[in-house]
């Protein structure tokens, strides 16, 4: 049956091709021969200025000066001079306080304050007393002098932020 179908299709195609008249191609003029001149083009960099407006700067910019602090997001600018304390806490490169909350394995919430210069133990004493009302038992702190950081048990980022903003760091 399939072979009969194929033969029928072939015959019909032959009839169609015979009936159609193949029209001759238009004569190719001498101007449109293979040896044409290459297309001319000009290079212009005028539109690149629109790209340059969108390109970002590579260095993180200084934050603008606001009228009042804290800003609507809660950010406070650092004081222009270092406060007169035995320790100093510098900001991260994004101009944010160096406090991080993380979850150590097996249900251990932890806050880390880093980038501390000077007398770390004095800061540790103050932070311990800061955290005491928020903690059930004695506040647990650990001083890591090699990495210049203090590790506190529990999530206390907001309390410490308030404290450090008040000091002027």
């Amino acid at each position: 049956m399939r072979i009969q179908q194929v033969f029928r299709i072939c015959n019909s195609c032959r009839h169609i091709l015979k009936s159609k008249v193949i029209q001759p191609l238009p004569q190719v003029s001498q101007a449109l021969s293979y040896t044409t001149e290459p297309t001319r083009y000009t290079v212009s960099y005028e539109d690149f200025k629109h790209v340059q407006d969108i390109l970002p700067p590579s260095r993180i910019p200084e934050p603008p000066t606001h009228d009042s602090y804290p800003t609507p997001s809660g950010w406070v600018a650092p004081s222009e001079e270092a406060p007169d304390l035995p320790y100093f806490i510098s900001r991260t490169k994004f101009h944010v306080l160096p406090i991080v909350e993380k979850e150590k394995p097996r249900d251990q919430p932890v806050t880390v304050v880093f980038y501390i210069d000077g007398d770390i133990w004095a800061l540790e004493k103050e932070l311990k007393e800061l955290i005491r009302p928020y903690v059930e038992f004695d506040p647990a702190t650990r001083v890591h002098e090699v990495t210049r950081s203090i590790i506190l048990k529990g999530h206390h980022a907001q309390v410490i932020e308030k404290f450090l903003y008040a000091k002027g760091f």
């Binding site: 340059q52 970002p56 590579s58 270092a82 490169k93 210069d117 000077g118 090699v146 210049r148």
Partner: protein, 313 residues
Amino acid sequence: YFRFKMKLCCRKLISPARFILQSIQSRNSHVNREDFIPPNLVMAKVNPLLHNVTIQEVPKISDKIPVFRHCVEKLPKNKNAISVWLDNLLHARPQYNSVVQLHPVLFDTHPRMDILHSVVRWQQEYREVDYSWSRTRAEIGRGKKKPWPQKGTGRARHGSSNSPLWVKGGISQGPRGPRASFYELNPNTLLDGLLIALSIKHIQNDLIIIESAQISQDMPDFDEYLENRNLSEASMLLVHAENENISYLEHLAEDSKLLNIMPLYGLNVCSILKHDKLVLSRCILDELEHKVLWHKTRYPWLGSPHNFYIDMP
């Protein structure tokens, strides 16, 4: 070396092991003396390198001395710029005339020994390739023949003489082919390592800053220059900028065993720690500061480093 020693010992009729032992013992016999001080010992107020040399006191830096170079980048709030005497290759005696200011982020970082160790270890290890290769039982070309029948002989049962149990058999868990110990360290760690090495050199008074490394033959005698600064036995690493003409310095470095020259882009932790003294030319400091502080204050890469910023250094 050992073949040469064998020839000598054959003449004297001593065993080669004893000959080598004797030579080592005679080389290190000075260690057992009572007044021995190891050469890498640094004690307060007593430096063994300066035993035969007159010590020249370095004057303290006061506020009246003119500053030749100020810091280019912004300083952190809790730290002041570090001031260091400016030296010159052209003067035989150090003339304490002017002072140079250094950025504290570069020369006054917290000395993290663990970072330094990891950077030094990386520098030495990432290039290593272990070419050891041992044959397994399949690669020993001795065949699959059973050495003796299963039963009848009183010996243990074996299927091949290539197994790891056999002497001259294959090694089962041995080294297999060239193995590269390449690994990448965090670029921030590498940068911190460099800064720690520089600050260690400054703290230990091994940092010398020179006005320019571009000198001609008008320079005074180099040995006299070193003697006046108590540097005749100290190995020096001189770091210069690319646009300086170092042709005469290259002559000096070729002849001397203790002087090495390096452009700024070759600065690395192992070289800094290997040499006793680090000599920087003033032209470098601006570029170094700019590059280091750009890395410290740039946006993090989105993926891999790219060039599509307005102000790429």
